[in-house]
């Protein structure tokens, strides 16, 4: 989006205020600067020359506290693309001020490099399992660094070895496969939630799919959200090349963020003559795991009873990104014995929003608390969702409120039901 287009998009907001009803950050601040109408107004003042990107810390702050959850976008009568305006704004701010240290360390430092991520994952696992975590938590050392403590709290418990290291045991040849699947095992699934990936791979094979798990680069979603389009494109190119080589029927992801980011590669390269066609081919093959199982495979006849009360949280990137919302519920309801209970505001952001839970801790915690309260109200014992970032955030929320419930991907329950895990 160039500046002229940006200005045009910004001016489509005629300030009706409908976004107030659906914006999580507005709900908890009641501050006009923390809702789409206000944020877009500030962007407009800059586009009209009254202020400059990066020069007003307060504007920068309000641009950064947007969750990019897109609730305003889908509810806006003029369909103002506030999320894209915010990403563009962040890009401009980065351009004016340079990347901040957090971004350099986490995004360009780790997420852009799979080998470093692997080391980080090993360290995190060592920290979690060796007893170091117990010592650190009980020593009180974290209390001096409140922000660090909050971050530590979000880090998942009981980390397993990365998915990639388990692949030799998981992957097998399938006789007369119905589909050839390229599985996009994203950074978070691989490093923190290998159980989800394992369940997905085993289940897909069980249903007659031949699955491969190519080496990937980060999908670039976090970079995009932070306004680092250059790096996002670099990563995207590598992924496109890798997966097109495999000539798969479909490319499937269990992660809402990866899935929606991969689907948007087409848009990312729409002005790049060299990449445009390839990106299009790639994006056409992207499917969310729930959708693939629900719509592309016949109903599973091996499902055994699983007596559980289950509810479902819609990840933003799935409900408003890939527009997948009925399918995961459908899968859960298919499992005999499962009592599905709909949660109030199931499609509201949980406040995880990628690294938002680290960078905007206070706001994130408030939004999370509301989400957990809604979960408690359902009386369910399993909170199903389809995004590792949501899983991390929701699990931390349950721990904080000492709620004895588990967060699981629907595919984990399917795999459990047929006795694969």
């Amino acid at each position: 989006m160039d500046n002229k287009e940006l200005k045009k998009k910004i001016r489509e907001c005629n300030r009706c205020g409908f976004c107030q009803d659906v914006c999580p950050t507005y709900r908890y601040t009641k501050n006009e600067a923390a809702v789409a109408r206000g944020r877009v107004r500030l962007a407009r003042l800059i586009s009209e020359g009254k202020y400059k990107w990066g020069e007003e810390d307060e504007i920068t702050e309000h641009i950064k506290t947007c969750l990019l959850c897109r609730a305003c976008v889908v509810n806006c009568p003029s369909s103002v693309i506030t999320d894209e305006i915010m990403m563009k704004a962040r890009e401009e701010i980065n351009f004016a001020k340079g990347f901040n240290l957090f971004h350099k360390l986490l995004y360009r430092g780790f997420l852009s490099h799979q080998e470093r991520l692997k080391v980080a994952g090993m360290l995190a696992r060592f920290y979690d399992r060796s007893g170091a975590r117990w010592i650190v938590r009980n020593s009180g050392v974290l209390n001096t660094f409140r922000k660090l403590k909050n971050m530590e709290n979000i880090l998942p418990m009981g980390l397993k070895p990365p998915l990639r290291s388990q692949l030799p045991e998981i992957l097998k040849q399938v006789n007369k496969p119905k589909f050839r699947i390229g599985y996009f095992a994203g950074c978070a699934t691989n490093t923190f939630f290998s159980d989800i990936g394992k369940a997905a791979l085993l289940y897909l094979q069980h249903r007659g799919c031949q699955v491969e798990v190519p080496e990937i680069q980060c999908c670039g979603g976090p970079h995009k959200s932070a306004g680092d389009m250059e790096e996002a494109k670099r990563l995207a190119k590598e992924n496109i090349v890798t997966f097109l080589k495999g000539d798969y029927d479909y490319i499937i992801s269990d992660c809402a963020t990866c899935g929606s980011t991969l689907k948007e590669y087409e848009e990312l390269f729409k002005n790049d003559l060299q990449m445009k066609e390839k990106a299009q081919q790639f994006s056409e093959k992207i499917l969310d795991l729930n959708k693939f199982i629900a719509d592309y495979l016949p109903p599973d006849e091996d499902l055994k009873a699983l007596d559980k009360k289950v509810t479902y949280h819609d990840p933003c990137h799935l409900v408003r990104g890939l527009e997948v919302t009925a399918e995961p519920r459908e899968l859960l309801k298919r499992i005999p014995g499962v009592e599905f209970r709909e949660m109030r505001e199931a499609d509201w952001c949980c406040g995880g929003a990628g690294s938002y839970c680290f960078t905007q801790q206070e706001m994130s915690a408030k939004i999370l608390e509301g989400k957990i309260d809604n979960f408690i109200e359902t009386g369910a014992e399993i909170l199903a969702t389809s995004c590792p970032a949501c899983t991390m955030q929701l699990s931390a929320g349950l721990r904080k409120k000492s709620v004895k419930a588990k967060v699981k991907h629907p595919v984990q329950l399917l795999a459990e039901s047929v006795g694969l895990v």
Binding site: R11, E12, C13, N14, R15, C16, G17, F18, Q20, D21, K30, N31, E32, A33, G38, R41, L42, L45, E56, E58, I59, H62, C76, P77, S78, S79, V80
Partner: protein
Amino acid sequence: MLDKHLLVKLKSIVGKEDILTSKISREVYAYDSSPFIHEPEAVVFPETTAEVAEILKLSEAYSIPVVPRGAGTCLSGGAVSLYGGISLVLTKMDKILDIDTVNETALVETGVTNLNLQKAVEPLGFMFAPDPASQKAATIGGNVAECAGGIRGVKYGVTKDHVLGLEVVLPGGEIVTTGALASGYGFIPDLTGIFSGSEGTFGIITKILVKLTVMPETMRTMMAVFDSLDKAGEAVSAIIAKGIVPTTLEIMDKSMIRAVDDFLKLGFPRDAEAVLLLEVDGYEVEIDRQVDVIEEIFREKKASSVQSAKDRTEREKLWLARRSGNGALGRIKPAYMVQDITVPRHRLPQMLRFVSDISKKYDITIAQMAHAGDGNLHPHLLYDPDDPEEFERVEEASHEIFETALKMDGTLTGEHGIGLEKLPFMKLQFSEKDISFMKRVKKALDTNLNLNKGKVLEL
């Protein structure tokens, strides 16, 4: 900027979390949903009536103008701070204090949104009848202050018909109650009524006792397509003349239909010149007969198609489409001036036609919709703020529309308020004596003229 001592005092009243004074904060409280933009000097969020009272005491002591504000969805500039001062944002007073199904009332704080009240009473079989299009955001306090209407207005009336009592903080900080909230129930002049539609110029409404309405047993929603606005308007007059009082009768013109269809993808007839959305409600037994009569009228007036909503979801989508009209116009042009002139119902077709002619005469886009059942028109005059020449034409057209509506025995505003927008036209509608009486009432309540200064009346 406000005086330092005053700021310290304000902080001691509401706490430092509930006051904003930075340049950027003032920018985002400078607007509402109208084209007017004026910055306050401080934005204050009281959380209790007592805090509001303390703030109004300070306003008197320091002669600081105060502009009450709810969600900031006013269409006539009522919530912008023309003279700086304090923007008093009441959205943190958002508790529903009581719902009484026996007496069919609800007691709410001023900042409860219309939609949240609807959601709270709906499971109990009730509704709050006023349902302005902005109900997702707009607050009950704001609804009362502007005397908001809504799409159910034809049958159920406007906000003032559903307010039983108020708690109001008067300029100077005195807290009073009126109507059924007050102990002196027997005082006959309608003091509650004075504050309905007072646009925040008489006092700050802090609590409202509203009347709830029992949800009708059944509803039937229909959409008829016409090849001209006139014919749709004639159908409206004919339906009313038959003694049928629909819940809603809404007209949308072609540009409006297209804009909302772009948003909701409902498959609206994009080439239709006019669509009439109609709903009747009541007991099952009476509805069928009404629907028969209405369909007959649609045939007579040559509707090109008539459809009924199949289920609740379809019905809700139709009304969401209607409510999204204002907002969706951003797709066509970045700004609009919307009027809410009201004419006697039999004049509706004539007025709709006149507005269409005006649009051609001044070469501007006017998207029309109307609460046709009340003769309340909403011509949206679209413009680009970067084109001053076009804006001038919009202003001239606007003027002519006001004048014509008044000539047809209509009024300047049905529900959006006078605010800043219609202030220059007050003289057209009211005599000097009438305006002078209004001024005396205003001065009796707000002697030092600190409340929403510069709105409604020129003082």
